[in-house]
Symmetry: C2
Subunit: 390 residues, 2 copies
């Protein structure tokens, strides 16, 4: 048995970022940027009025003569001369010759003449060209999953498309003679395959492309067919316990299966296989639904992020413990817990029932409290590590 | 001018949850459940072995005779008699007559005979039928956005499909003679329409269906065409400042536009229109990109959630302030800030530059610090309200 940390490290080190592809920014939400991306233009692209008002020369005083109007998108072609003012609006180009804007609420207009109750200073109510950013500046760094705000920023930088990592295709199969689909007739002694629906949505949420290979019986020929699947990572659910592990090994060994490790010192989810099937990375998750989803959080998410080149950013947080916990044994524990905020502090309360069969409690949990192997007892109010869910 | 709270209340009260539709659970991630959903079957559906091992009778002792093997999905048809044991695996049906399971690591097998180093008690290593949940129990309540774990739970409850709210179609148009698309030639005195790309991704992320109506010039005929758009909510970006507001009123008035309110006591983003165009709710966002996206977070998200029937859950949090803040004026302020975790505590540091033109700083922010109107000065370390971003 190896530790959770070592398992993550071995999985991640076996994977490299996928090739990049160019996508339009309107399709880039949630994609991972494959290269540092720089602005192509200054923003704002010209000295811009911050107000509805008048462009003036700060050296002038007294009544000005209004020489025209320049709404946003309709710049004034000439130069503002001494004693002149130009009607502007928010976002208008400040004309050559002007160095200040006075607000319309401080103006008294009378035909072509305008007086002001405020005195201008150079730069007043003007956003200088490039105030937000200048052409060439780094807008969004490589490895970032693009947020809505990033997309708006990239657009403002005049980028119509960006390089992103291809999304990894994650193919998965549930294995087990006992499995059927929800709503379909049950097999004798059978249960519903449930974790695949959670896994599929998790893969999508982490930026992968899920591919459902269906439910496979516990037969070597069915499992051997996995060797023909083309994908970036191949997952089985329920092929990792003792007997199943033997079946996977026996079925896939002749098709180029090589084992990296099997069994992790953790709870829930001890039996987990990682290796390669030919050149394809292979992850054998436990069949127990809670265990498989906890293992997906701990091992599949970093695997997908490694293929996407996501800049490392730990999903783990700290929280204060509600209640007390006994010392832990030699297996890293992941306790389903409810979280609550008390002012600016996050608190986590472990559920009493932690049996790995309890899917309902898992769905109701806000986080997993992570207890390292041999962790000492933890008192009420002490700081613990958590993994927030969703 | 009305307060942010009143504006949210008036928008939300003008909207009702959309009709429900049934979707397969494999398509239900992120959808909002339209009815309380109950389990159709017990989970586990039968008394289940927790271990690879042997089913026994706890009243027995000594050597047992192995009468067969029942892997998961292959239940034993008969009843376990006195002195008998049945080979089981994790997930196997515990046969009639048996009331305990002993683990294989505690068993010494010799042909048809098996001895144990452990003594059984009734219920040992058995998950009773319905331990996780029983048929009829509430699995997921109405109004919840379905997580991957919810989908797995619903599948375990034998539900192949669920009722969810139809996703609201949110049509949006940017208005302004100065606007062009990124990568396209600029107009004289023009800028790039950028906030639409952020808005589109936000709408999708909140569960709506965005529909891009393009860029409209500042002409009454172009804006009047919006009256023919069929959608659940119509948005303009950049039609809310003084002159633009007049244009919107003039262009849409003859087509059944009715104003609910205009102008909110907030920063950034004061000019915001809410009303109806015929029967269609209408939201006029500011043209400034940061203002428009902040207003989308504050007003569009609750609007979409109201149409989806999302159970109220505040997105606001508390954090501790890094640095100090002066007393606020009469407009609610939304300061772009970076967040950091110190053990279990969340801290927020407002950026120095808060000009609403700074899109790059907005993209780099982790949260908005919310300063209520007339908020007193806040000291370093004091608790402030924040709105986390993304």
């Amino acid at each position: 048995m190896i530790s959770v940390e070592e398992a993550v490290a071995r999985i991640v080190s076996a994977l490299t970022p996928l090739e990049s592809e160019r996508v339009l920014i309107e399709s880039a939400a949630g994609r991972v940027l494959a290269a540092d991306t720089h602005a192509k233009a200054d923003q704002p692209p010209f000295a811009q009025s911050m107000m509805d008002g008048y462009a003036v020369r700060s050296a002038d005083s007294g009544t000005r003569r209004v020489i025209g109007s320049a709404p946003a998108g309709h710049p004034f072609a000439g130069t503002l001369g001494p004693g002149e003012a130009l009607r502007l609006f928010t976002g208008s180009v400040v004309p050559d010759g002007a160095d200040a804007v006075l607000a319309q609420e401080d103006a008294q207009r009378d035909g072509e003449r305008v007086d002001f109750t405020e005195t201008p200073f150079a730069g007043k109510f003007i956003r200088p060209r490039g105030l937000d950013f200048q052409a060439g500046v780094l807008l969004v760094p490589q490895g970032r999953r693009l947020t809505p705000r990033d997309l708006a920023l990239l657009a403002a930088g005049d980028l119509a498309e960006v390089p992103v990592r291809r999304r990894p295709v994650i193919a998965y199969a549930a294995t087990g003679d006992e499995l059927s689909r929800p709503g379909q007739p049950r097999k004798p002694g059978g249960i519903v395959a449930s974790s695949v629906y959670g896994l599929d949505a998790m893969i999508t949420g982490w930026g992968g492309v899920p591919r459902d290979l269906g439910i496979l019986p516990d037969e070597p020929e069915a499992i051997a067919a996995l060797a023909k699947v083309e994908c970036d990572l191949l997952i089985t659910l329920g092929g990792a316990s003792v007997g199943e592990h033997d079946l996977i090994q026996a079925a896939l060994g002749p098709h180029g299966f090589s084992l990296d490790f099997w069994k992790i010192a953790m709870r829930p989810g001890k039996p987990l296989i990682f290796g390669h099937l030919g050149a394809t990375p292979f992850l054998g998750l436990p069949g127990n639904p809670v265990s498989s989803m906890v293992c997906a959080l701990l091992f599949l998410r970093p695997a997908i992020f490694a293929m996407l080149g996501v800049t490392a950013q730990t999903p783990f947080r700290k929280a204060r413990l509600i209640g007390a916990l006994k010392a832990n044994d030699s297996r890293q524990d992941h306790l389903r817990a409810a979280c609550e905020w008390r002012e600016g502090d996050l608190w986590a309360r472990p559920f009493r029932a932690q049996d790995s069969s309890m899917q309902k409690l898992f769905a109701e949990a806000d986080a997993l409290i992570v207890r390292k192997p041999h962790a000492p007892p933890a008192e009420d109010g002490s700081v613990v590590e958590i993994l927030p869910l969703d």
